[in-house]
């Protein structure tokens, strides 16, 4: 890990907890940060940061293409494909692209060399700028099954970036989330003050523990009533790095696609302070766990 380079991943058991709100505001509160939207199924960060588009590139996967003249119908490829993406119907090999995992096995197994591979676009990555924030956004095309190739590409691009990176992760705790936090130095888990919030928090908590990532919780939309997510943190001895109150004004700014940090000094201070606390935790982790 290069000096001064820090990756912070923002997670939540589910969407709607304020993960994107927190990520974009943190990124905006830090000088020269990089914001990366890994929530490729529903990338929302750009709606707030409204970045310029400086560069755009498509992300491809490879899928098999059959040469009908060479194919003799032996069906070895069909038998091989563990995802049932191939079928030999009416003397013709059919490829179901949307369930193909692009493993390349069918091309290897075919004794007739009848299968070659072709690129297919599944989405894109755009690069842009929003004031002090550099923005990378991954977008999966609707109807595509898996955003993993886009996330892998985003992770690779992040490795080249200096400074502080904020990664807005997909919701949940599935494989796409694991790919997103692969390089993270620290994870922020965002939780809502409901029983759902606590249950979802528990899931991402298990995930970061499994991956041995240092982490802390931000409790969002806090009300006066009891907070099941906070109770969960107390019970497990989890560090709460921030508490954001339920606030109609913040909600409205957010709903309108504004960056709160850029609209008011008060919010600027709130998120800067939060970042300072997180940075302290990261430093601490780097010392005890280099």
């Amino acid at each position: 890990m290069a000096e001064g380079k820090t990756q912070i991943a923002v997670l939540s058991g589910k969407g709607g907890t304020g993960k994107t709100m927190l990520s974009v505001n943190l990124a905006a509160a830090i000088e020269n940060s990089l914001y990366v939207d890994c929530d490729v199924e529903e990338p929302n960060g750009h709606l707030f940061l409204k970045p310029s588009t400086e560069n755009e590139k498509n992300v491809f996967v490879q899928h098999p293409k059959v040469c009908e003249q060479s194919c003799n119908g032996c069906r070895l490829c069909v038998k091989f494909c563990n995802f049932n993406a191939l079928a030999y119907i009416q003397e013709k090999l059919m490829v179901f692209e949307d369930i193909c995992h692009s493993c390349g096995g069918c091309a290897l197994v075919c004794p007739q060399k009848a299968i070659s591979e072709e690129d297919r676009t599944i989405g894109k990555i755009s690069e842009g700028k929003s004031e002090n924030v550099k923005v990378l956004t991954g977008v999966l095309n609707p109807g595509e099954q898996s955003g993993v190739p886009i996330i892998s590409e985003l992770v690779k691009m992040c490795r080249k970036e200096p400074g502080t990176t904020i990664i807005d992760c997909p919701p949940g705790s599935s494989c796409v989330v694991m790919d997103s936090i692969k390089d993270a130095d620290y994870c922020i888990l965002v939780a809502e003050p409901t029983i759902f919030g606590a249950s979802n928090l528990e899931m991402v908590y298990e995930l970061v523990k499994l991956f041995n990532k240092p982490f802390g919780v931000v409790l969002n939309k806090c009300l006066k009533d009891k907070n099941p997510a906070e109770e969960f943190c107390k019970e497990k001895g989890i560090t709460v790095v921030g508490k954001i109150p339920f606030d109609h004004r913040l909600g409205k700014l957010n709903g309108d696609g504004q960056i709160a940090v850029r609209e008011s000094k008060l919010y600027k201070k709130m998120f800067s302070d939060l970042y300072v606390r997180v940075a302290k935790e990261v430093k601490h982790e780097k010392v005890i766990n280099p």
């Binding site: 969407g15 099954q145 919701p171 796409v176 759902f196 899931m203 309108d256």
Partner: protein, 294 residues
Amino acid sequence: MKKLLILSGKGGTGKTTVASAFIKLHNAKVYADCDVDAPNLHLVTNQGIKPKNSDYYGLPKAKIDNLLCVRCGICMQHCRFDAIYKAEVYKVNEYQCEGCGVCELVCPNKAVTLQPDIAGQLTLYDDSEVFSTAQLKMGRGTSGLLVSEVKKQITSPSIKTDLAIIDGSPGIGCPVIASIKGVDMVLVVAEPSVSGLSDIKRIIKTAEKFQVKTALCINKYDLNLEKSKEIERYCDKKQIFFAGRIPFDDKAVKVVNSGKNIVDCDGEAAEAIKDIFNSVYGRINGYKHTPNED
């Protein structure tokens, strides 16, 4: 039996609250939670009985036998998912492995085999009501298949009912596609915000691909009236059935946290959900004219 799927593009919009309210209102006999990554419906449906659990096997995982492996590295070169790495010996990272079997195919020494892998748990409450749910194991990818299993569990039982209610999963990827397949109608729960609007556009596009009838309602509509209007106009343009608006209700959080159903307490939100349910229910049954349907 008609199947109504409730989706939201993203979580946190109140989808599960709406789903559980519908279950209560309809006194539903059959329902399911297809959010296998982060199921929540069981938290609010008060299942008293002990469920039947069964292991769900996902795709297999590769395993390398060290005694047979000659460390040639061919498997690592061919694995497209970076799942094989070299420590002292060659190893498979279980979280990266997709079970494609290419390594097994290329290994010159038969040192690789694919082993069955438990990728999650299917749960079925099968009493006077049928409730099907599941939990995917941490980091297991193929949740679409598990979603299909969850749905299968509600089609087999003997209970006769006219409407099954399915709580969907967030996103637009494979689990959502698996939950949309074969349902009669999708109800999208939208949130009146910039991101809410963007999310529903993507989810509606996905639903269009599968040619499923779509209805939409807005939750907490009064938190942002302009955005709510915008969503309504979008529905109008897309000829999506607009089922209604639910106001923000401070009490709702309290009610849900105490493990109660939102329709158990009086309030504007509860009333609105009742109206939405009635119109959606009418709508889903209004499609009787489609041929080849019972």
